[in-house]
Symmetry: C2
């Protein structure tokens, strides 16, 4: 039922995107972009829960309340965070400039920024950039990849996806772009992910779908446990698919839309982890048989954020002691004798004791690029899945050499 | 009033120590040792709060309740954790063997272990080792350094200290050994720290002094945020200094004893951080003007455990954005415009804005081995101090290459 299609955020009907280089990043890389729809959209967004909030987040939090958004302007290379009152004015100005170019109003333009913290935005460059972007709007596949490139910082690969689902007799498309790849431990939203859809959907339903989807995707990833000041996930729905309106009452259509949206957010979340700073391995952590989902999530996060677990996997070592002990300090009561742990489906710890001798094929499994850790607690019926990456010397290089 | 003296744990009157190599570590390194007193001691101990608890911890938790301890037997190279019922029996056997050699009872012998998780103890080697150690007991300075070496795992330097204080007309001595240097995020106690004193002190007072001291020393350090299964801090007081009994009523003497004990635990805690795996810099984090000490501690820990902060300091970069944003996700309400941040006493962020241009001598300060981060929240009067180290490629090497 869910079919992947090309085109990212411009795959849904009526969306266009544009990108330009205005001088925030070096080497002529795209650093400013706009995504807009032919008609205003119903929109929902989730933001960082960091107490230090970037100016564009404060601005966007204010205007998203109406649920009525026409465009998003986004820049990389400068986070516009810790920039005081001037920062807020600059975010407002970005919305004004964009609105003027698109013949809409500033209260319908979301603003997102990513990059270095604490530098004022060079507004002359931004202004010229927004004009250039407005002239370049379009919906070719190049526009799709360019807008994904526009939001990259230390990301190595652009991240975009689009999927198509049938809603009654109509085709509904959902597209997305996202960026990582350091300061990733979103807890409420990721760095930046912009989702577009041509679905006709009620605003409350859209808000609820986004919240549920983010809870099981971006909120379940971590690269380095450091939550950013600029995290934002936004979805724009312009209704141009002409489908029967999706609401809480259209259960079947809602379920399919939610499933497709989850597919998109989980794929973007996984793409961020796979492209995590210095990452060489993708790690999926499943916690089973917990008393509550909250317990399962706390334990999964404790394992996912342990540098000892992450370095062991980097070293291709099945060091289950580090995994079990990381579970043990998550603040949840455990019974060691009920725990079962497997790596890539091979059981290595059971009933409080290691499986000895260690299974022969385990060392080969550790050499793979994808590692699945499954921990069963034997305490209940709840479960969760979390995604992270290994910790390598490259992470240190990237972050010790990145100078302010 | 507090004078440092040589001798570590055997500096207090009536204590002896012994060490041997029994084959748990390679290269003939000491891996088993005993500390004992001429007479039984009043004793208190704190243990890991990890839910996965090593066998020696379970055993020691049981016998410490009496407050009456005569000796500690400790081994490195094997943590005796995740070893099931056999592990518990092995810990008991270590106490029995030691008691027999020392003419005391097993319920007066604490057991501590550190090293690899999940391997059964080779009890033949342990048995021979304990006999060898019993023959080598003494109180020369060599005994002092050897017992500190005995508990080392990835530590590069042995950690020991002793201090002398006057209690009325008598001299009271406190000595200690400690070990790190990975899986360090004690929260309730460190990996292993053994403290001896010849003070005459009531058991309740001793327990309270230890708890207070640990709260502001070992509980305030982190190397990698990974709490161990074997953390233990124990203090043995044999009363041989002959001082007037220290109780909650002897306020002046109690205050001095507490101060001396704090000196010892803070020095040992700092030594563990300085010798943290791969550490090249010692970082002191002070959080000021918090609403509560709990708030201050949460924020200090959030900064201390951020790999982005730790790598920035490793790269000698005054990346205040990472420090401020790490404070921002600690889960405590902040007001960005009241925050003041300084590094090595140089103010770099104030009233929600960076100090520009950046102070000229800041880059030189970042090259120093000791970095002091002071964050004032402007919200209250409470404060805390926390200690950590930087995150280097050497940490990855140590932990990716350490194979199970």
């Amino acid at each position: 039922m869910i079919e992947e299609v090309p085109g990212g955020v411009i795959a849904p009907k009526g969306f266009v995107a544009g990108s330009a280089h205005c001088g925030l990043k070096s080497n002529n890389k795209y650093d400013i972009g706009i995504i807009t729809s032919e008609t205003p959209c119903k929109a929902a967004a989730l933001f960082t829960t960091n107490q230090i909030v970037a100016a564009p987040i404060t601005y966007s939090q204010k205007i998203i309340k109406s649920g009525n958004i026409h465009a998003i302007v986004v820049n990389s290379g400068n986070a516009n965070a810790c920039t005081g009152k001037r920062g807020y004015k600059d975010a407002e100005t970005m919305a004004h400039l964009t609105a003027k170019q698109l013949n809409t109003t500033p209260d319908k333009v979301l603003v997102a920024s990513t990059g270095i913290i604490g530098r004022p935005l060079p507004m002359k460059k931004i202004t010229a950039g927004i004009c250039k972007v407005a002239d370049s709007l379009g919906n070719n596949l190049t526009h799709a990849t360019n807008i994904a490139k526009t939001i990259m910082t230390t990301d190595l690969v652009p991240k975009h996806i689009a999927v198509k689902i049938p809603i009654a007799t109509k085709e509904v498309t959902i597209g997305a772009i996202a960026k990582g790849s350091g300061m990733i431990s979103p807890k409420m939203a990721t760095m930046i992910c912009i989702i577009t859809t041509d679905a006709e959907i009620s605003l409350n339903t859209l808000r609820s779908c986004l919240k549920d989807s983010v809870e099981e995707s971006f909120n379940q990833i971590t690269v380095d446990g450091h939550m950013s000041t600029n995290d934002m996930v936004a979805i724009l729905a312009n209704g141009m698919a002409g489908n029967k309106n999706i609401t809480f009452s259209t259960k079947k259509e809602l379920a399919l839309f939610q499933k497709a949206l989850d597919h998109v957010t989980q794929l973007m979340a996984a793409a961020i982890v796979k492209d995590g700073e210095g990452a060489t391995k993708f790690i999926q952590i499943e916690v089973h048989e917990a008393k509550s989902t909250r317990d399962a999530k706390k334990i999964a996060r404790s394992i996912a954020e342990s540098p000892l677990v992450k370095t062991a996997i980097h070293g291709e070592d099945p060091n289950w002691g580090r995994i079990v002990s990381a579970a043990g300090y998550a603040g949840i009561r455990l019974d060691e004798s009920r725990i079962k742990l497997s790596i890539n489906k091979i059981v290595i710890f059971r009933n409080g004791l290691p499986v000895t001798p260690a299974p022969g094929n385990l060392n080969n499994e550790m050499k793979k690029n994808e590692i699945l850790i499954q921990l069963s607690l034997g305490l209940g019926k709840k479960r969760t899945t979390m995604w992270t990456c290994d910790l390598s010397k490259e992470y240190i290089t990237i972050n010790a050499d990145y100078h302010t």
